[in-house]
Subunit: 358 residues, 4 copies
């Protein structure tokens, strides 16, 4: 696609709704259909899945949407502006590349692709074609996550000493990927967004408890250039649901708990070493002040995310869930995999020599 | 001390109370005084601390107990059968060695000594003198810990897939040791007791947030010969107190939470792969059954522990909190320290060629 | 309606789906539409509301359902077997009576009618016409409620000493009725279903905090013939959501908490007076045993309820949420209103001389 | 006692410690001994109980305190300034009256006496003798209670719409009194202190579940002149410990939970009726803002209470836990008993014609 086409592409939209095809109707795809159907400036014009029965299930609810088992039907339809892909990870690159090739803007579920090489290739194709490419890191649109980010970025928490996070419960083993590829995109995109930096070192231990060779529990340590360290526990096998992150800063601390009615709690607590450390008279002061649960907006993150996609397409801007973050997330997962392969050895993360998105 | 002396030592007790001196009256020592004072078969006959004001503070409550700032007074008093040491870690070896030298049985707070070499030396001295040496791993006498051990050892939980534990809250920075030496003895002794095996590999990341060079948060991974993996998070800097351990077995799962009114909860939950794994038809079954909080005895662990010490002295038997466990705990901490020194590299734990306690 | 008609009425259905019209599309009506639309043996053929915009809102989702603002259209349509009414309480009697008159089976949201006199009239009309009339006491189909009932009725809890329940949170003031008419049908139907008896005495205190004269908080005491006493707190004004009921029996106790992941918890706890009470040697034994959270089915209560309606229509049987319970609930609410009018005086509940439903 | 005597009585103290005798060493008495022993300006000089074994139990801990089974020994000892009484309720009046007669200041555990008549008699005796009389309503010194009072009295909560409180758990049946006399003094003193007004009407339902005739559960409603209504649930028979009070104000709401690490939580939530109520366009606004858990001081209430007693004796002032509150609490309990005797009928509380304490 030429620049002109791209220009036209965005201009074409004018005031009308963005026409989207949703590809993949497994666990998550129907949510994309529902939200894109309800948003004021998008319209689902087609859904596509290899399994006809998944399409048929949607008919009573969306009788007017075109249904097809052939991806070519989507690609060949000039009335379709954009494609939203919610298929298994291994297919992300091929489907997204073909859509870009066909001149469609692309929203693709996280992770952006099955390797950083493939992610870079997609980024490259989108740049060259002047089309929008956006990975679906929904948590970056979650109000508790953005509230926490504001607390971090504003300096209210002080220096971030460490972050400890657990994302575990029983269920949803994926057939083809490890728990790290499945749940890692959540935590790694959140950390990347909060810290505005990539880890410099990653180490991990995991186990495939149920299916040998497919990790379903992982303990991952990350070290950041700023000095912050982080621990991420993820598991498909746990006695009860935990979605809890503690952010410990030099001034205040935050607990973000996605299962709680009070998803963000701010603790005015800390320890201070008042004087230049004299070993003879070691004396720390502990503050344990008020705890505040700010009111957190309840908007559905997926709505905010898909609106952002729509704006990005219309204006040619980068969405918050950018390809840069999408690529970085894949690179962290790859580093985790490498550490696992090397028996838990710490793996340094070097920046790629040339950054496609720089 | 000769064998005869040792023999005499235990025989001397006859039916009378064990006469104990408590050394060190900082944070924990007064608890030893209180419990040894109340137990039916022990009697505190002396307390010793370098700081006279700590002694004086105890006078109103224990007006009849002999108080001294000189350890030699304790060592030279033939009426004293045993010494209970609750001093900083760096003094454990010297004080315990001197007490054994003086023919006293020794209870020493965890960790047994500041290095495995020093711990082995103490074990050796105790063996040669025929005296009891016992490290104070109090948690091995905590009813929720023993209830959990029974669940593990009986097979009710099935194979232990993994253990994840958090021991964090704000406060109690130690001036001379890291959080690993301070809190590690709790978790590593519990794991050692539950699993009946030593980890084969340890890796860790930590940070000295408040005092540079003194870790106050640590994320530690352990791998066991049986395949079990464990994560231990410990911190003196955390927004709220957590004392939570999840034990995930192939049949059932347990949450042990020391801050809860229901410290042990058993989840009849799990995932099953019913057939030989066929990739085409991947189908897991999830069980999420009843949750049971068994009634857990409320006896104070310290009472049980000091009674066990008393029995060990009387009968010449090994207490539950044995020198074997005491040494193993120190070896795990040393491995953690080595991993920290090597930037988080996994450190293998080899068994010492000759085990003093074998 | 003659027997023949009635016979015809139910016979007509044969194996085909029950054709239902939903009347009233405010807060709850759309849920009736959704569930009746999805159930295998019902079909929504029409929806009716005075406000056209509420109808229009449903068009995209249910493009094939007939929409009307005129109730007569529903009544006059012979293809409609049954009417499901979800309108303000003050309209229940008129709408239900007209539907029965027109030969339709009737499902009407709780409470059955705005007074026991009107409720009895509806019951009478349904009996005479041989049609099904069912009040929508959805909680009688809630799995935690039925699990609790099984525990009570099986004798596992022993004698029921008392029940204490709170149903409070901020929000949903009703414009035309008090909190007692709004939330009372939930708790009073549950108590009636659990205890299988009507209270003999009711007393209550309330306040209209926001709108003078419209109680938005009420504290209600009930006494049952069996000796059980109950307290029900209900409010539209409370700092946090509570849906908690404690059932205290002579053998065991239950906490039913509708907001919890463990909605039913069984406490093997109690107090025993072992001997014939001698005042000189008063000595109670307390048991505090295990706590069990049984697995509770997660089926949506509304599905079970509307299936039961469908069965009742087909087979001419009484549904679990029977007119008997529906009438009793209205009678308890009336007694509460009377107690409120009399300054909190206890109001006896006599059985009506002739019970229409006996 | 004449003015001169009174003057002398207090003057005698000068700078020296108040010499106190503790009478009654059951459940609570040893706490009085412990705290009075530790306070800087009091000294326990004698303890007294009819049961010698209760005295003997204290010897090891307080070897220097005089012990006696004869109350006359206490009364006749001129070195004793004050008596602290922690005996069964039925003995409060006789013991306190005798102590006042003997010229001793009196601290007596709640309730002040077993009837309002007896309470008035004690107040009268104390006034005439110029001695301090103080009932031990410890909760008035509990930091969460005073924090809540500050929130109420400052107007931060707005008008107090209602208060709902639960004080229940399994255990501690009293042999001689009902749950209302046992637990009522806590809640009624707190309400009296918070509201600064007496209820005008009380109604109650109760049951003696374990011992026939001795209520062990009670549901109590109170109405205040300001319009505030309150519900108090108290029980010795409950599945789990609850110490929870919700205070609902027109501006903010508070939850005071004595079992929580965050005992006071402030909810910036409420409902507003913005315009003069027009029935046609009923539209409420709900606010659900931040929740704040202020830091609450952790001082032991009993220390603060006994210090206040000491100050009252020294300065001749009324303590916070005044005889006025002590009498009012007994009057509320009597009204509850009357309501119970009258089958739950609302009982009006008239002010006594002449108030002894006015």
């Amino acid at each position: 696609m030429t620049d002109a086409q791209s220009h036209n592409g965005r201009a074409h939209l004018g005031g009308r709704r963005l026409r989207v095809a949703v590809v993949g109707l497994g666990y998550w795809g129907p949510n994309l259909v529902r939200v894109l159907h309800e948003l004021p400036d998008t319209r689902v014009v087609a859904v596509c899945d290899l399994q006809a029965e998944l399409l048929i299930r949607l008919v009573p609810r969306y009788p007017t949407i075109r249904m097809t088992t052939k991806y070519e039907d989507v690609l060949g339809d000039d009335a379709i502006d954009a494609v939203a892909i919610a298929t298994p990870i291994s297919t992300h690159h091929a489907l997204a590349a073909a859509a870009l090739e066909a001149g469609k803007h692309v929203f693709v579920e996280k992770p952006l692709a099955g390797s950083s090489e493939l992610a870079l290739d997609l980024i490259d194709r989108a740049e060259r074609s002047g089309l929008t490419l956006m990975p679906g890191h929904t948590f970056l649109y979650s109000p508790p996550v953005t509230t926490s980010r504001d607390l971090i970025r504003s300096g209210e928490l002080g220096d971030i000493f460490f972050v400890s996070t657990s994302r575990v419960n029983l269920g949803l083993h994926q057939p083809d990927v490890s728990v790290v590829w499945d749940l890692g995109p959540h935590d790694f995109s959140i950390l990347r967004y909060w810290m505005d930096e990539m880890p410099v070192r990653v180490s991990a231990v995991s186990r495939g408890c149920i299916i040998n060779g497919t990790p379903d529990v992982a303990f991952i340590n990350l070290e950041f250039p700023s000095g912050t360290i982080a621990h991420v526990e993820m598991s498909w096998l746990a006695p009860s649901k935990l979605r809890r992150t503690a952010i410990v800063g030099s001034r205040k601390m935050v607990v973000y708990d996605d299962t709680s009615n009070e998803p963000v709690r701010i603790f005015d607590s800390g320890a201070d070493l008042p004087e230049p450390e004299t070993f003879g008279e070691f004396r720390l002061t502990y503050r344990a002040g008020a705890i505040v649960s700010p009111r957190v907006d309840a908007t559905e993150p997926l709505q905010l995310e898909l609106s952002d996609f729509c704006q990005a397409v219309r204006n040619g801007t980068q969405p918050r869930s950018s390809v840069e973050i999408g690529l970085d997330v894949v690179r962290v997962i790859e580093a985790v995999d490498q550490s696992l392969a090397e028996g838990g050895a710490p793996v340094p993360l070097a920046l790629p020599e040339t950054q496609a998105y720089a």
